[in-house]
Amino acid sequence: MTLETPDFQAYRGEAPPRFANRSELECAKVLDYYGVPWEYEPRTFVLEQDDDGRVVEAFKPDFYLPEQDLYVEVTVMKQSLVTRKNRKLRKLRERYPDVRVKLFYKRDIERLAERYRLELAS
């Protein structure tokens, strides 16, 4: 699926963002609307390495808000997969205690849609 990529004003990344789903795009549009600088997937956090130092588990949050020093992960997954993502977030917080990260659920995005009258794909 190819998603539209508007000419974002508050985007602080270099390469044009390629969103994985519509909720990520809508989240980006809201941040942009409010003039909150944002980056898309700027950093991959290594969570696990094997004995040879090869990365076996990593996590790349969807957004980074540099003014807030906050990573935001948007998820549209069903509950069982969210649980796995939550586990990753816990691991990230353990490994990188100085990194601030928040998980935004599909329900959060829908709430934004209600508040800001967004149109979301079902």
């Binding site: 000419d7 974002f8 942009d32 928040k102 329900r107 508040r115 800001y116 009258r117 967004l118």
Partner: protein
């Protein structure tokens, strides 16, 4: 409301604060809060364009005032009166914009707060009525598609099961 009023009086006595309420949901709250603040103060209102109003223009859309303040705020103690703070995006924009006008101080009071949904943390939220769960509220100025604002009390709106 009386508790919030007392806290505002404690902090602003002798400073004649300006209560700034973003339209429309905070109208009922600011009306009650103002009457719970028995020290001299002024009221003003502003209105921000909702996201949907400019959504068709995609990424070019930026938040903007539909109605700006009538008052000059330079040198004044400004207290923003919010209905609810969740992500903090609206209040962050308001604070940044109003700070450019050199108020003596800038703080916020909110009837409802959802701090666990915050994307912007460094906000001057000084007074909080209630920290609430992630539910949709109507009544007491809160609407759903412009309905229910007139209900005298807050109600939680839940989808039919």
């Amino acid at each position: 409301m009386e508790e919030l009023g007392r806290e505002v009086v404690r902090d602003y006595d002798g400073r004649e604060p300006l209560l700034v309420a973003p339209l429309k949901a905070s109208v009922v709250f600011v009306a009650d809060l103002s009457r719970a603040i028995p020290i001299p103060h002024a009221l003003d209102f502003l209105e921000l364009a909702s996201y949907g109003a400019d959504a068709d223009t995609g990424g070019h859309a930026r938040i903007r005032f539909l109605k700006d303040l009538d008052s000059e705020i330079a040198g004044r103690d400004v207290l923003i009166v919010e209905d609810v703070i969740d992500t903090g995006l609206t209040l962050n924009y308001l604070c940044k914009t109003l700070a450019l006008r050199d108020p003596a101080s800038l703080a916020a009071v909110t009837l409802l707060d959802r701090p666990y949904r915050r994307l912007v943390e460094d906000l001057p939220v000084r007074y909080v009525g209630f920290t609430v769960p992630d539910e949709l509220f109507v009544g007491y100025g809160f609407d759903l598609a412009e309905q229910y604002r007139n209900l005298p009390d807050l109600h939680v709106l839940r989808p039919k099961s």
